[in-house]
């Protein structure tokens, strides 16, 4: 549907010749090209031009950059040490296009595939280790900054963004209650069921109460809550702060004298520290309810018996051990989530990568911390 129009030089360039695909053939020692030399036809052209002394493009009806590339490439292959092979029959526009393409031909591929030697592997390992150590140092320094900011807010409470804090508490706390409670309830159910199967063999069904109480209160309740919160809120922190970083909002804050740590990080971390113990408590309760229900159905341990045994046999320290861990887990999730968010660079891809890093790293660190707590509590005997 190209309009013929008046024959401007541009129309000549795109003039509608016989509507045939491109053809390349050898005639009297010349490579004769004809038809439409366009991006979708050049790939079909033969590459063989052996023995040709000239390229004739007088019969080419249309030529685009790809067509010009074909001509230049053919010329280059045919030249091969001899004088330049002439290109015949090109009009002004075609001549100009061929010149432009010739000037912009990519350089010959010089990059050869280098083999990876053992030394390279060792070097890569070293670099990764150093990078890991650097992240540890940066995280620690970031932790220090946040603690300093928190400390200065104790002295100047007005610097705390209360609205933001409450908003984040609702976001990570209140909105997470259903999922946390449901998960914990199911864990209680599973523990009771599996425990009863094993304990029945010894006729020690009633110990299922101790099993559920200790494992839920001491470990599972808070650990699983922390993992859910890391996946739910840690990633949200990274994504939110990261996209602000991408749009230079964080830089804008700095220029008007607002500290991103005060505005973005402290309310988020503080919200988590305040809310995670509460979520842990809810999780503990839901786990116990789930366990009690399953014990009743499966073993006939009535809720009254369950409660009596729970109160008399379970030391309150089991509950306290779980609760003590909560703020530390919250700190880990919050710090890592915000730190990764602030590391986001200019492109969308780094946002996605760092969000997943943030979740993986915070879950991993929560479990490491849990292991350390276990050892410490064992050492001091609680």
């Amino acid at each position: 549907m190209v309009q013929q129009g008046e024959d401007t030089s541009r129309d000549q360039f795109r003039r509608q010749g016989a509507d045939v695909a491109a053809i390349a053939k050898l005639e009297d020692g010349r490579l004769v090209l004809s038809g439409r030399l366009l991006i979708d036809t050049v790939a079909t052209l033969a590459q063989d031009s052996h023995g040709a002394e000239a390229i004739d493009i007088a019969q080419v009806s249309q030529m685009d950059t790809a067509g010009a590339w074909y001509v230049v490439d053919a010329q280059r292959r045919m030249t091969d040490g001899k004088d330049d092979v002439p290109i015949l029959g090109a009009d002004d526009m075609q001549q100009q296009l061929i010149e432009v393409v010739r000037r912009n031909m990519p350089l010959e591929d010089t990059g050869s595939a280098t083999r990876v030697s053992l030394a390279d592997r060792v070097e890569a390992l070293g670099r990764k280790t150093a990078a890991g150590a650097r992240i540890a140092v940066e995280l620690t320094s970031f932790l220090g900054q946040v603690i300093a900011a928190l400390g200065s807010m104790v002295i100047h409470p007005r610097r705390l963004r209360l609205t933001s804090l409450v908003h984040h508490m609702q976001e990570v706390g209140w909105n997470a209650i259903p999922i946390v409670a449901l998960m914990s309830f199911l864990i209680g159910v599973v523990l009771a069921f599996q425990g009863s199967v094993q304990l029945r063999q010894f006729g020690a069904e009633v110990f299922v109460v101790d099993l559920i109480a200790i494992s839920v209160l001491r470990e599972l309740g808070i650990l699983l809550t922390a993992i859910i919160v890391a996946g739910r809120s840690g990633s949200a922190y990274t994504a939110a702060i990261g996209s602000m970083k991408m749009r230079e909002e964080v830089d804008a804050m700095r220029t008007i004298g607002l500290d991103p740590i005060d505005i973005l990080v402290v309310p988020r971390v503080l919200a988590l520290i305040l809310i995670l113990p509460v979520l842990g408590l809810i999780s503990d309760l839901a786990g116990l309810v789930g366990g009690a229900m399953m014990s009743w159905i499966e073993l006939g341990v009535s809720p009254a018996v369950f409660q009596a045994r729970l109160v008399s046999n379970t030391d309150v320290w089991h509950f306290l051990v779980g609760m003590i861990k909560a703020p530390f887990f919250a700190m880990i999730i919050g710090i890592i989530g915000c730190y990764e968010g602030l590391k986001v660079g200019g492109n969308a891809e780094s946002l996605g990568r760092l969000t997943s890093t943030s979740v993986v790293l915070s879950i991993f660190m929560v479990i490491v911390a849990d292991a350390i707590f276990s050892v410490v509590f064992a050492l001091i005997g609680i």
Partner: protein, 262 residues
Amino acid sequence: MSDAEPIIKVRGLTKGFGSHLVHKGLDLDVRRGEIIGIVGGSGTGKSVLLQQIVGLLKPDSGSIEVFGQSVQGTPPEQYKQLRRRWGVMFQDGALFSSLTVRQNVEAPMREQLDLPNALRETLAGIKVRMVGLEEVAHSKFPSELSGGMRKRAGFARAIALDPEIVFLDEPTAGLDPIGAAAFDTLIRKLQTTLGLTVFLVTHDLDSLHAICDRIAVLAEKKVLAVGTMAELMEVDHPWVHEYFHGPRARAALKTEQDEKVP
């Protein structure tokens, strides 16, 4: 050339967002092979007009024909063919951030054509070099480039398939004067080499003087005036007058007269 059927023909275009009307009865012709500059105050719908012509937005009423075919009325298959014949460069390039510069230019070829890998890479390499990016920039990601280089890469992607029309949305905005002038030269050079029709949305008076064959002024929800720079200097409308007689316009016009571009 004025007798030729216009390559883009907009008639009675009306478009509004909610109760706010952007275009009302807008007419515009773009001729084959010209560089037409679209100017207008902020919010007069220059980019909206561009988006409607390339089919990203649907007009409320009116017709848009490109190459004699209606953009809105065509079935998807035909629209695909139509789309291949134009290229769009968005503000700031709109490069895919997860691809390198060369992969960005390869993207339309990969999507539209079935080319051997080596050929596609070579052709993309030529295009990237044609817009003036050195070899080292080819394997860089958009976030590693300066604003000017991103715009050049965006231009390379727009001309990847040798289109007949190129739509450029503020190509020189945010560039330093030297970079902007170099970009103008680039547009002019590629326009003559590749035989392009260029639809240029711009605020840059220097670009208008230097490279545009005709200028269309968008105001009062329609194209208020179309013509060469000299013709528009005579238009009486207050906004047009202010635009082409303001201090910046006079400065731009003066430099143009000093070093007349052929």
